[in-house]
């Protein structure tokens, strides 16, 4: 065994999940015996008397055995934000003191104490670590320790919260079978959708003779499709910005998204809208504008809502700048809800093009307004005003092209 291996081995033996002596043990043995022996040979009673307690502390204690453990009662993984309570069970074996790193700060407790209450705070939605109880067990007088042990991580994913918005008066319908919103595309149902001029390709049986004789040109009756509306929630995850312009270039630590930022608002709004539409029986799909592989196909029901909320967390985890945005494989005649801070022209162009393709587009601005300029930058106010002006123009342009725009989220 080389010298480096010996040092490594000695270091490993002084740490980890087994009982090993501490410096206090070495001190008690060598200093205690040294004082007693030195006192006897030098005829100094005082040295013997000072050494006796150290020797006795070694003789009265023994090296603990057994495997002490700290276990935690599982915490529900899907529970929402707030305070969650659980307990930590301490099995001390032969240990005397357990030092446990609890969420409120480390605590030294008797190794055979009853279950310890543990309070877990869940402040933000998203993935994270609930609890990790690092611990160490000490034997009598701290002369032997077991650990320190890195505790098992209890991870959880808090889904984005759903705010229930009151819906307007709705006609009676077979709940769970039929949506309340009809698909805007034309089809073969019996309900009239529009009367328009004849176009090549129209069936002759659809000609409305009464209107045709009255107007002098051939008109056809267009009917609705036998389908519910398809809602596509398109989330722009490329940027996560707050009202404070100075923070735009710096990352945010401590949560998956910037609290109150554009991405946080977009995800919360998307989850709430998905819940609202699905409750009404409509089909809802989710699209990540920059990462189409994360899209969720349209579906209905409560389980689909869970799928969308879970996928929103996945989208946010993968969030980051992408050069291109796209809405791929849009169902014909769907209602597209575009949630974005609209900070670049490409996203506005995408909204306009989608509208031109015949979809109903609702653009929801998630940029927190008004913007707060960077007080330290000499051109901070001008830059913030420029950004806000460009943003207003973008929203106006979309509105001019038939996109329904909500300026505030």
């Amino acid at each position: 065994m080389s010298r480096a291996d010996k040092i490594r081995d000695a270091f490993a033996r002084s740490h980890g999940a087994h009982w090993h002596p501490t410096d206090a043990y070495s001190r008690a043995v060598w200093l205690g015996v040294g004082l007693v022996v030195g006192g006897l040979f030098l005829h100094q009673v005082e040295m013997v008397l000072f050494g006796v307690p150290l020797v006795l502390s070694v003789l009265l204690t023994s090296k603990p055995t057994g495997t002490p453990t700290v276990s935690v009662r599982p915490v529900p993984r899907g529970a929402g934000a707030g305070v969650v309570h659980t307990v930590a069970h301490v099995d001390g074996a032969d240990a005397e003191i357990a030092v446990i790193k609890l969420p409120g700060g480390p605590a030294a407790v008797p190794a055979h104490s009853p279950d310890l209450p543990v309070e877990i705070r869940r402040d933000a939605w998203g993935p994270g670590v609930d609890l990790r109880l690092d611990h160490l067990f000490a034997g009598p007088d701290g002369m032997h320790v077991y650990g320190p042990i890195v505790g098992t991580e209890h991870v959880r994913t808090i889904l984005p919260p759903v705010e229930h918005h009151p819906s307007g008066p709705l006609p009676p319908r077979p709940a769970g079978l039929v949506g309340i919103h009809r698909s805007p595309r034309a089809g073969d149902s019996t309900e009239l959708r529009d009367i328009r001029a004849f176009q090549p390709g129209d069936r002759l049986k659809r000609i409305d003779w009464r209107v045709t004789t009255r107007t002098g040109t051939v008109h056809v009756r267009e009917r609705h499709a036998e389908a519910d509306a398809e809602i596509v929630l398109a989330v722009d995850t490329r940027t996560d910005v707050g009202a404070n312009v100075a923070d735009w270039a710096s990352p945010y630590y401590g949560a998956t998204t910037r609290p109150g930022g554009s991405l946080d608002r977009a995800v919360r709004r998307a989850a709430s809208m998905a819940a609202g539409y699905l409750r009404q029986g409509d089909r809802v799909a989710l699209m990540d504008l920059s990462r189409p592989q994360l899209n969720v196909r349209s579906g209905v029901g409560r389980r689909h809502l869970m799928r969308i909320r879970t996928q929103l967390v996945v989208c946010v985890q993968a969030a980051g700048w992408a050069s291109r945005v796209a809405l791929r494989k849009l169902p014909h005649g769907s209602v597209v809800v575009l949630l974005s801070p609209f900070l670049d022209d490409e996203i506005a162009e995408l909204a306009v093009q989608t509208r031109k393709h015949g979809h109903v587009v609702l653009a929801i601005n998630t940029l927190p307004l008004p913007l707060r300029p960077d007080p330290e930058a000499p051109w901070g106010e001008v830059a913030a005003e420029m950004i806000a002006a460009e943003h207003r123009l973008r929203l106006k342009r979309m509105s001019r092209h038939g996109v329904a725009v909500t300026p505030e989220c």
């Binding site: 501490t22 410096d23 206090a24 001190r27 008690a28 043995v29 060598w30 200093l31 205690g32 015996v33 040294g34 004082l35 007693v36 022996v37 006192g39 006897l40 030098l42 100094q44 009673v45 005082e46 040295m47 013997v48 008397l49 000072f50 050494g51 006796v52 307690p53 150290l54 020797v55 006795l56 502390s57 070694v58 003789l59 009265l60 204690t61 023994s62 005397e96 003191i97 030092v99 790193k101 700060g105 480390p106 605590a107 030294a108 407790v109 008797p110 104490s113 160490l136 000490a138 009598p140 007088d141 701290g142 002369m143 320790v145």
Partner: protein
Amino acid sequence: MRLAIVLAAVPVALILHLESDSIAPLIIVTVLTAITALMPGSAGAALLIGYAAVAMAFADGHPLRLGVLLMIPALHLIHVTAALAAVVPVKTRIEPAALKAPARRFAIVQAISFAVAGIAAFVPSGPNIGLVELLGLGALTVVIAVVALRI
């Protein structure tokens, strides 16, 4: 727990200061106490106990004077508090129940130590104590053997 180290070291510093003509012991004990309080797992505690023991042993006066009798629990307390402080992180909430067993053991050790001091008070001193020295060496051999077996 680090405050307890300092509190235990205060009587040690005072006794050494009163028994010495210079301020050097006070400074040395203060420095060693600061090292022990800041790094309880270091050799500071051993140096503090060792220095105080040697300084008291080679000072003038009766071997069982009041300073020595006060120093016995103080040095042991420094050892115990440093040992516990080394395993407890700073700003740890310590439940009093966790200190019950160490306190009980401290009392037992001190009772035995003072019993030994009582015996030492009756041991004859002088040039003709060959038998006593023989007994002492025999007891020391037994103690070393027991400690070696425990290691």
